[in-house]
């Protein structure tokens, strides 16, 4: 069971509940806009 739990916890992070695939791109775009506003 410990091994099973360890694998499942890895899955929790990697497969079952990862950040949405679009999230990093969304943040990149958000920061790009925010930096542009700061410069302007």
């Amino acid at each position: 069971m410990p091994d099973d739990l360890a694998l499942w916890l890895d899955d929790l992070v990697d497969a079952l509940d990862p950040p949405p695939t679009h999230l990093v791109d969304t943040v990149h775009a958000l920061l790009l806009i925010a930096r542009a506003i700061r410069v302007a």
Partner: protein
């Protein structure tokens, strides 16, 4: 050579013993005495090998470059550390939509505070602390009352936010998720972060959780025992 021989070497000619004692104490603190109580614990996580000693330095260098206006450095930090921010938000009881909002808020906050982070090597810790604060604020707004403090959350199970069922692959996962979601919030956060610790800075995780490094392993072991007990009660183990 006799005891009176002035040329007889001393036991500690260069004064190494005090430093060795410090190192022994650090090892004792970092590695739990009872491996059974920490079968997925600190020593195993460290042994996984991914957390290279240079990671904090690399993140610090990226932060410094971002301060100097290097947008790609900031983008790299976002790509590498968003999973950490995400799991702190999710571990603090937020559903996916709220967690996404919090992740975006935290990175905007970093942009605002780029020049004010006193210790760039502690960036992961700063992100964890900021995310926890933002997650608790978002939780309060969504639920209309004060969020539980970190301390009180230790003993109160959080059953409101079950993971999205479409992500579950089979019935066993569903039982595991249900048992996991019923753990105290502090346990959920700790288990997520210690799995991630293979990729993030484990020491920063320990510091950000405001727990002595030596207590993380045993606490994690207790959380896992609780999870196992719930699974066994459900017949899911």
């Amino acid at each position: 050579m006799t005891d009176d021989d002035p040329d007889r070497p001393t036991a500690d000619p260069v004064g190494l013993e005090p430093r060795l004692d410090e190192l022994r104490a650090e090892l004792t603190e970092a590695i739990p005495d009872d491996p059974d109580a920490d079968d997925l614990g600190v020593a195993a996580i460290i042994a996984q090998g991914s957390p290279t000693p240079t990671t904090p330095e690399r993140h610090a260098a990226l932060l410094t470059a971002a301060r100097d206006g290097d947008g790609s450095a900031l983008d790299t930090l976002v790509a590498e550390l968003t999973p950490l921010v995400w799991h702190v938000a999710r571990g603090n009881g937020l559903d996916q939509a709220l967690a996404e909002d919090v992740v975006q808020t935290v990175w905007l906050s970093l942009l605002r505070h780029l020049d004010r982070i006193a210790e760039p090597r502690a960036l992961a810790g700063w992100l964890i602390v900021t995310t926890r604060r933002e997650a608790q604020r978002a939780w309060r707004e969504a639920n209309g009352r004060a969020a539980l403090s970190s301390d009180s959350a230790v003993d109160v199970p959080d059953t409101r936010w079950l993971p999205e069922t479409e992500a579950l692959r089979d019935d066993r996962d569903r039982r595991l998720w249900r048992a996991f979601a019923a753990l105290p919030r502090r346990c959920q956060e700790l288990l997520r972060l210690t799995v991630l610790a293979g990729r993030a800075e484990y020491r920063a995780v320990a510091e950000a959780l405001a727990m002595p490094r030596g207590s993380i392993g045993p606490t994690r072991g207790r959380c896992l025992n609780t999870l196992r007990a719930r699974l066994e009660r459900e017949g899911g183990a």
